[in-house]
């Protein structure tokens, strides 16, 4: 687990601290009022002052993100399994998925609000689920189908059943594809959940804190909520990464070492 070792932390930490310092310095010199963009120190203070409100909102929005993510990932992976299991040729499947994927799903948020109730978490979850579904579905389906013909023939020469081939060859082959999608949708889910909250609904959400405070030019508080959203995204990304390493284990290290 390279990313857990001390050495790997150092460059991004130094870079991040440097960037924040530069940000602070430039704004301190050019925009002392903090009108266009608040300084990192101001954001930190705003975060401290509003910590309980931001914390509650992070939990509400975090729940939408987590549940929507889990739902979309499970549905996407299961749909990929079913499609590949019951028709190996996916030349009609991929264009279909691409077409559906072309629908701007976030733009549907107000419609979902009408269907499922504006204060209900269901409409927010529905948008996150839909957005997460397709990358997971397409990537997993690719991983399940992009298997060497010879490997399949070899399994058939051992009289292995289709289901056995699925378990022994296709699913392990699809795992890297699946986890790539998982890392991608972890950040996508955060964006989707917060943007949906811009369209209204409950008060105690990160999206609402951002829109309300931006309206009243309290940019530092809005930015504090953005920071909270980023932290949720980073946490999910690393959770996905750790899960991947736990599942693929030493094999992943063997392939990267070679």
């Amino acid at each position: 687990m390279k990313f857990l070792r001390g050495g790997a932390w150092l460059p991004p930490t130094v870079f991040g601290a440097g960037a924040l310092g530069l940000w602070e310095l430039v704004l301190w010199a050019t925009d002392p009022e903090g009108f266009v963009l608040p300084r990192p120190s101001e954001i930190a203070i705003a975060l401290g002052e509003n910590i309980s409100e931001v914390w509650v909102a992070s939990r509400v929005t975090g729940f939408i993100i987590g549940s929507g993510l889990a739902g979309g990932v499970v549905l996407g992976a299961v749909a990929a399994l079913i499609v590949i299991r019951f028709r190996t040729a996916n030349e009609t499947l991929t264009p279909l998925a691409v077409a559906i994927n072309a629908i701007p799903i976030i733009a549907l948020a107000p419609l979902f609000n009408n269907w499922l109730g504006i204060t209900s978490p269901r409409s927010n979850q529905a948008v996150v689920v839909l957005l997460v579904f397709f990358p997971v579905f397409i990537n997993t389906a690719r991983g399940l189908s992009e298997v060497d013909d010879e490997q399949i023939e070899l399994m058939q020469s051992y009289a292995a059943s289709d289901w056995r081939i699925m378990r022994t060859v296709r699913i392990p082959n699809a795992l890297p594809f699946f986890f790539t999608a998982l890392r991608l949708v972890a950040s996508l889910a955060v964006i989707a959940a917060i943007v949906v909250e811009y369209f209204g609904g409950r008060q105690d959400t990160l999206g609402n804190i951002i829109t309300q405070n931006a309206q009243f030019t309290r940019y530092d508080v809005a930015w504090a909520a953005v920071v909270a959203g980023s932290l949720v995204g980073i946490a999910l990304y690393f959770a996905a990464l750790i899960l991947e390493r736990l599942v693929t284990g030493r094999y992943a290290r063997a392939t990267t070492a070679a």
């Binding site: 060497d148 010879e150 490997q151 023939e153 070899l154 399994m155 058939q156 020469s157 051992y158 009289a159 292995a160 056995r164 022994t168 060859v169 392990p172 795992l175 693929t248 030493r250 094999y251 063997a254 392939t255 070492a257 070679a258």
Partner: protein, 271 residues
Amino acid sequence: MNAAEPQRAAGEAAQDLVLEIAGLEKTFNPGRSNAVPAISDLYLAVRPREFVSIIGPSGCGKSTLLRLVGGLIKPTGGELSVNGRTAGEARLNRDYGMVFQAAGLLDWRTALRNVELPLELMGWSKLRRRKRAKEMLELVDLGGFASHYPAELSGGMQQRVSIARALSFEPSLLLMDEPFGALDEMTREHMQAELLKIWRETATTVIFITHSIPEAVFLSTRVAVMSPRPARIAAELSIDLPERTPQTRDTEEFFRNVSLVRRTLRSVEGQ
């Protein structure tokens, strides 16, 4: 069990052959405009413990023949029996060990667990298959690499793992499709010696496809030469070498056989 019963006797006679092919036909996409007649009127018989190499022009249907024998695709005509069964039955009975040009190892399994794969599918207990897989890795001189992943092995080592895997369940017929085609000359010769050693030790029958005439001569008891597509067996040559050691490659005997096969192949291609 009455030996006097004529039907029985005929059945037993057929079982003396590991492989019996008569009038085999294979056309891909039959009846359509893109039909490809790959194999036509092919005859071949292989006795137990033979090492038969199949050599022929590129694209003539060698791999197709091997897939037909392995029961992976169905012929469009003719007879094909393996140990007295159809190819499909023989496949379900796990009579085959197959080795392809690409080693085809599962990247996420160690060498040991790759060798265990067929045994796993055959329901061997963990203890038993682990023991066997270790023995097989010893046989191909990879005893020390059991816990290595394919990405950590050279091409030649991967191919040896693939051979160990094919032999692990003692199939009665080993089907090899240009298994050493991707290897460099030195590794190739080493692998050939290794394969001969294994063949002697395990009493398997081998059908071996290759593009290399010296390889066919060095390994085989018999070389079958295929015609251009649609393929049949155009000629069969018995290879008599007093011994097969690295020195054999430099003998008069060896060169004579190589040029014989070469001339046959040339005359077949010229037809």
